[in-house]
C-alpha cells in the first residue's frame, strides 16, 4: 500500500524517512498541534511550496531544463482563481473553473515556449523563459482594470472556507472554515505531490532522467527528446498553476508581489538546491526548512539579539533586520556541505 502510494520510491534512509514522517504528521495535524493564525499560515505555505518546488524539480532535477518562468505559471493559476471568483461570484464552481483554466493556460503557454526554444540549446530556453516571465509580470501590473495592477485582487471564497463559518470545537481548537480551507490545501497538495512522485517513477519519468543524463544517447535509442522535454515542461507548468490556485484559495488575495515576483523564483531555486535536485523528497525538505526560516528566523534572531544585548557587536549582527544575511549564510553553508542537497546527503550515508 505504502509502496504504491510512494510509487516504489522509498526514502532509502532511516533519518530521511523519520524527517519526512515528522513533516507529514506536523502538517496533517498543524491546526491542532500549533494553534494560531500565524502557524497555520506557515503550514499552508509549506504545503503549497512543496508542490511548487516539486513541480519545478520535475523540470530542473529530473529533465535538466533550467526555467525562470515558474512563478509565472504559479501566478497564472492564482490569477485564474482570483478572476473566476471576481467575475463568477463566490462559490466552489468559480474555484474549480479558475483552477482548470489557469492550469490549461499555463500548459499552453509552456507548450508555446517549449516549441520555440526547447529544440535549441538549454541556455536559450532559460533566457526565453526569463523574458516571457518578465513580460507577463509587467503586463499584469499594467492591465490594472483586469488584474487590479500592483494592488492585486481581493475576492470572496465560499463561506465554508472562511473564519465566519463555525461548527464547533475539538481538542480546544475552534472548528471553522479556516480549518476546512487548511485541509483543502493539505489534501490537494498531498495528492499533487503523490501524483508527481508517481510521474517521476513512471516509464515516462525514467526517460526524463535518461534525457538529463545524456540527451544525445536518449535520442539515439529512439526517444523524441524534444517531445519529452515539452511534455515535462507542460506538466510542470500545469502543476505549478494548480499550486498557485491553491495559494489563491487560501490567501483570498492575489497580487504581483505574492505570486509573480522574481524573488519567489529565487526562493524556489534555493529550496530545490537545499533539498536536493532530482528527488521529490528534496522538495519536501527544502520547502519546509526554507519557509520555516523565512517565517521564524527573524523572531529567533530577535530573541537571540536581546539575549546577547550586553555584548558588543553581536546583538547588531543578530538584529532581526539582518535575517536575510543569515539566510544567505545558511544557504552558502548548505551548498558547501551538501552539494547534492540534504536528501542526497542523507541517502549517500545510508
Amino acid at each position: 500500500m505504502i509502496n504504491i502510494l510512494l510509487s516504489g520510491d522509498r526514502p532509502r534512509s532511516m533519518l530521511l524517512s523519520a524527517l519526512l514522517l515528522v513533516i507529514l504528521i506536523a502538517l496533517a495535524l498543524a491546526p491542532f498541534l500549533f494553534p494560531g493564525v500565524r502557524s497555520l499560515e506557515t503550514a499552508a505555505r509549506i504545503c503549497i511550496f512543496i508542490v511548487l518546488v516539486a513541480s519545478y524539480d520535475l523540470m530542473l532535477g529530473y529533465t535538466g531544463i533550467v526555467s525562470f518562468a515558474h512563478t509565472m505559471f504559479f501566478g497564472l493559476g492564482a490569477y485564474g482563481v482570483a478572476l473566476a471568483s471576481t467575475h463568477m461570484g463566490r462559490g466552489f464552481d468559480a474555484l474549480l473553473v479558475g483552477s482548470v483554466l489557469g492550469a490549461l493556460a499555463a500548459a499552453v503557454l509552456a507548450f508555446a515556449i517549449g516549441l520555440f526554444s526547447l529544440r535549441v540549446r538549454a541556455i536559450f530556453f532559460a533566457m526565453i523563459t526569463l523574458a516571457v516571465a518578465s513580460a507577463v509580470a509587467v503586463l499584469v501590473s499594467q492591465m490594472s482594470q483586469i488584474t487590479g495592477g500592483e494592488d492585486g485582487l481581493n475576492y470572496l471564497t465560499p463561506r465554508e472556507l472562511t473564519p465566519a463559518f463555525r461548527f464547533g470545537e475539538a481538542f480546544g481548537v475552534k472548528l471553522n472554515g479556516r480549518l476546512l480551507a487548511y485541509y483543502l490545501v493539505f489534501t490537494a497538495c498531498l495528492a499533487l505531490f503523490l501524483m508527481l512522485l508517481r510521474v517521476v517513477n513512471s516509464p515516462f519519468g525514467r526517460v526524463l532522467k535518461a534525457i538529463r543524463e545524456n540527451d544525445f544517447r536518449a535520442e539515439a535509442i529512439g526517444y523524441r527528446v524534444v517531445a519529452y522535454r515539452t511534455m515535462a515542461t507542460c506538466l510542470s507548468a500545469a502543476v505549478a498553476a494548480l499550486a498557485g490556485s491553491i495559494f489563491a484559495i487560501w490567501l483570498r488575495y492575489v497580487g504581483p508581489d505574492t505570486t509573480l515576483s522574481f524573488s519567489i523564483m529565487l526562493d524556489i531555486l534555493l529550496m530545490v538546491v537545499i533539498g536536493g535536485m532530482g528527488t521529490m523528497y528534496g522538495a519536501v525538505i527544502g520547502a519546509t526548512i526554507f519557509v520555516l526560516a523565512q517565517n521564524y528566523l527573524q523572531t529567533l534572531m530577535g530573541t537571540a539579539s536581546e539575549a546577547t544585548s550586553a555584548l558588543p557587536l553581536i546583538p547588531e549582527l543578530l538584529s532581526p533586520d539582518r535575517w536575510l544575511l543569515w539566510l544567505g549564510v545558511l544557504f552558502v553553508l548548505s551548498v558547501y556541505f551538501f552539494p547534492t542537497g540534504i536528501v542526497g546527503r542523507l541517502r549517500g550515508v545510508r
Binding site: 504504491i4 510509487s7 516504489g8 501524483m195 508517481r198 510521474v199 517513477n201 513512471s202 516509464p203 515516462f204 519519468g205 525514467r206 526517460v207 532522467k209 535518461a210 538529463r212 543524463e213 545524456n214 544525445f216 544517447r217 536518449a218 535520442e219 539515439a220 535509442i221 529512439g222 526517444y223 523524441r224 527528446v225 519529452y228 511534455m231 506538466l235
Partner: protein, 254 residues
C-alpha cells in the same frame, strides 16, 4: 540479388573547407557483416554519424529499406531500424546498469508514453534487460551505477545497449577499443552470434585485422573520406590500397 537494406548514395559532408566524407556510395546487403576500415581520420565515424543522423549530410542520400531517411531525425532513424553503438562510451552515467538497458527496451517496446504506471512494476521489461546483461556477463553488476563501472565494463554495456535495441542494422564503432584481452572475446562472440543469425545486418568499424578476418563478409576501405576499396576481406587486406592507406606509400613500397 536481393535489394540492399541500407544504401548511401554520393554521401558527402563538408566541415568548412574540409571534406570529411567524400561522395561515398555503398549498398549493404541484409544478413551481411561489413567491416569498415581506414586509418585514423579517414572519416569512418563521420560516415557512421551521417548514416545514423548525428551529422547532417551536405550532399547525397541515405536509404533504409527503400525509404529515403536523409532528412529524418536520429530518433526517427532509430525507430526505423537503425541502431548504433558509439566509439566513445555514451551511456547514462547517473543511472544503474540495469536501468540503461531497460530504457533501451522500453523505448522500442511501448509505442505510447505512460505517465502514471509504476516503472518498477514492469517485471517483463526487467527480465528482458537482465537477459541482455547476461549475454555480456554484466548481470552481476546490474544494480551498479554506470559511472562507477570500469572502462571495459562500460564498453560492454555500450554493446549490450545495441543488442537490447535489436535493430535491423547494427552499427558498431570499434566495439573492443580500450578493452582488455580477456574482455574483448565476450563482445566479439556476441557479434559473431548476430552474424550467425543471417538476418541481421552488421556494420563494424574495426582496426584489428584478425578480428576482421574472422568476422567480416566484406570490407570497405575509407581513406581521406573517400571509398577506396570494397570487396572480399582476404583480397582487400592484401591489396595495395590498404597497405598504402595504413602504412603510407613509402613503407608499403619497401
Amino acid at each position: 540479388m536481393h535489394q540492399p537494406i541500407l544504401e548511401t548514395d554520393g554521401l558527402t559532408v563538408r566541415f568548412g573547407g574540409h571534406v570529411a566524407v567524400d561522395a561515398v556510395s555503398c549498398a549493404f546487403n541484409p544478413g551481411e557483416l561489413t567491416a569498415i576500415v581506414g586509418p585514423n581520420g579517414a572519416g569512418k565515424t563521420t560516415y557512421f554519424n551521417l548514416i545514423s543522423g548525428q551529422v547532417a549530410a551536405s550532399a547525397g542520400t541515405v536509404t533504409l529499406q527503400g525509404q529515403d531517411i536523409t532528412r529524418k531525425s536520429v530518433s526517427q532513424r532509430c525507430r526505423a531500424g537503425l541502431g548504433r553503438a558509439f566509439q566513445l562510451t555514451n551511456l547514462f552515467p547517473g543511472l544503474s546498469v540495469l536501468e540503461n538497458v531497460r530504457l533501451v527496451i522500453q523505448g522500442h517496446k511501448t509505442g505510447r508514453v505512460s505517465l502514471f504506471s509504476m516503472a518498477e512494476g514492469d517485471t517483463a521489461l526487467t527480465d528482458a534487460a537482465m537477459q541482455v546483461l547476461q549475454r555480456v556477463r554484466l548481470d552481476n553488476l546490474a544494480a551498479q551505477q554506470v559511472s562507477e563501472l570500469s572502462h571495459g565494463n562500460q564498453r560492454k554495456l555500450e554493446v549490450a545497449m545495441l543488442v537490447a535495441l535489436n535493430p535491423r542494422v547494427f552499427m558498431f564503432d570499434e566495439p573492443t577499443a580500450g578493452m582488455s584481452v580477456d574482455e574483448a572475446p565476450v563482445v566479439l562472440d556476441l557479434i559473431a552470434e548476430l552474424k550467425r543469425d543471417h538476418t541481421r545486418t552488421v556494420l563494424l568499424v574495426e582496426h584489428k585485422m584478425d578480428v576482421i578476418r574472422s568476422l567480416a563478409d566484406r570490407i570497405i576501405v575509407l581513406h581521406n573520406g573517400a571509398l577506396v576499396a570494397d570487396g572480399d576481406p582476404a583480397e582487400v587486406i592484401a591489396s595495395d590500397v590498404v597497405q598504402e592507406a595504413y602504412m603510407g606509400k613509402e613503407l608499403a613500397d619497401v
